[in-house]
């Protein structure tokens, strides 16, 4: 088989933020680059080369995942939610509000990933302790804030979501 045939692009169908997209992608296309380059959803960021920083975090069938460590092909048939899909029209998600209210943002690079992780956490554990929040964020690194306000933002959001 020729190299072109062997490494040929493959059709996929992925639902992103409720919209179904049909595309043809090279096998080595990572999900984060599919979102950023093919779909222009640049909220998911590439912050490292080692699957550690979490700036690429999105939801895959409802679970927070690192989109830099998933092939676009593996997302065939899946439902992806990115930061762009979180707000309801003009109404921010409570986690987005929390990051505003509690100043959980400085440069903003880690923020989409932080928010997507927070949303997954609060959907499974609506009343987390500080320790549980910190454990949940082990996969999200921030170089600016020192994390204190990020934890406060999540607690603020948890409070609002419980009411």
């Amino acid at each position: 088989m020729t190299a072109e045939a062997e490494f040929a692009a493959i059709p996929i169908s992925v639902t992103v933020n409720g919209v179904k997209h049909d595309a043809v992608v090279e096998p080595r296309t990572l999900l984060v680059y599919f979102l950023r380059d093919h779909l222009n959803l640049t909220g998911a960021h590439v912050g490292c080369d080692t699957s550690q920083c979490g700036a690429c975090t999105v939801h895959f069938n409802g679970r927070a995942v690192k989109s830099c460590t998933i092939l676009a092909l593996q997302a065939n048939g899946a439902e992806i939610k990115t930061i762009e899909g979180l707000a309801n029209g003009d109404a921010f998600h409570p986690v987005q509000e929390g990051f505003r209210e509690k100043h959980g943002v400085q440069c903003g690079f880690c923020t989409p990933g932080m928010i997507m992780t927070a949303v997954d956490l609060l959907e499974t554990n609506p009343n987390p302790t500080d320790d549980e929040i910190k454990h949940a964020f082990e996969g999200n690194l921030c170089r600016c804030t020192g994390y204190v306000n990020i934890v406060e933002s999540v607690k603020w959001a948890a409070d609002k979501m419980r009411r």
């Binding site: 979490g54 895959f60 460590t69 998933i70 964020f137």
Partner: protein
């Protein structure tokens, strides 16, 4: 970086995946959660010609009880092992391990079968599964065989499976009543991987004396190591703090760990004893409940 170019096939059944393995030979790699393989491919430490996706094969995930065994499908993600009511009830030590792998996002994709088949010397599941006397079902085109954990992890990143076998499930004997299980690790502060770790299965009579113990240590060798000297110290004895400490002190006996940039051999041996003690204490406390 991007991985080097490769071909990809989404397998729809184990039999198809087995056929593809044979067809593509050396150049093929199976991918499950991909959270060891894809990072390696991004750094070009691995560049398989063809990826065979097991994630698209139905029926390979889930936790159930069959007779006297807990059965976990190879494609079950760590998060689901950690949150399984069956695991938490019968094998809390397994849940301990699942909860400290990677981070939340990794636990939502990484699979127990992938962890076992990849056999990273710093991985968590191989250690606890050795302590729990698990066996691994390997399927090939000529049938299935069951390989005991004690025989499975043969070298760094190497298992007793052949290139034409696929791990389909993990079978763990349900512990006898009066048993406790636990897993603890000393994480590397940057990577979170185990510098050393300890997995324990201990069974005690109601009088408090130990009828059997399995202690597996990670970080001292190319894979999990059974601390047989520590186990012998526990066997038949009342499980007092002094007995546990004396047993844990032998955790590194007959091992020859390597020095590395983070931890030298002496430190690893010392910490193996510390973490063995913590794991035994936690298992004994659970056994007494």
């Amino acid at each position: 970086m991007f991985p080097a170019n490769f071909g990809y096939v989404a397998a729809r059944s184990v039999n198809e995946a087995l056929r593809l393995l044979v067809e593509h030979g050396d150049g093929a790699k199976l991918v499950a959660g991909g959270h060891s393989l894809i990072p390696a491919m991004k750094l070009r430490l691995a560049s398989p010609r063809t990826l065979i996706d097991l994630g698209t094969v139905p029926g390979l995930s889930g936790v159930k009880i069959e007779g006297n065994n807990l059965i976990i499908g190879a494609l079950t993600v760590h998060a689901d092992v950690a949150s399984s009511d069956l695991v938490r009830k019968h094998l809390p030590g397994l849940a301990d391990a699942a909860l400290v792998i990677g981070d939340m996002q990794v636990r939502n994709r990484g699979t127990i079968g992938g962890s076992v088949a990849h056999a990273d010397p710093a991985a968590d599941f191989p250690v606890i599964l050795t302590a729990l006397n698990a066996s691994f079902v390997a399927r090939s085109s000529s049938g299935s065989r069951s390989i005991a954990a004690d025989d499975f992890f043969t070298d760094f990143y190497t298992t007793a499976m052949t290139a034409n076998e696929i791990l389909t499930e993990i079978r763990i004997p349900l512990p006898l009543s009066g048993s406790g299980t636990a897993y603890v690790k000393l994480p590397h502060p940057a990577s979170g991987y185990a510098v050393v770790s300890a997995g324990v299965l201990v069974t005690r009579q109601s009088s408090g004396s130990c009828t059997s113990a399995r202690v597996a240590i990670g970080g001292l060798g190319s894979g999990p190591v059974r601390a047989v000297a520590a186990e012998a110290e526990l066997q038949g004895k009342p499980l007092t703090p002094q007995v546990i400490a004396a047993a844990a002190a032998k955790a590194a006996e007959n091992t020859n760990p390597m020095d590395d940039t983070y931890a030298d051999a002496e430190y690893k041996r010392h910490m193996a004893a510390v973490f063995a003690r913590r794991a035994i204490e936690k298992a004994v406390e659970r056994a007494a409940r």
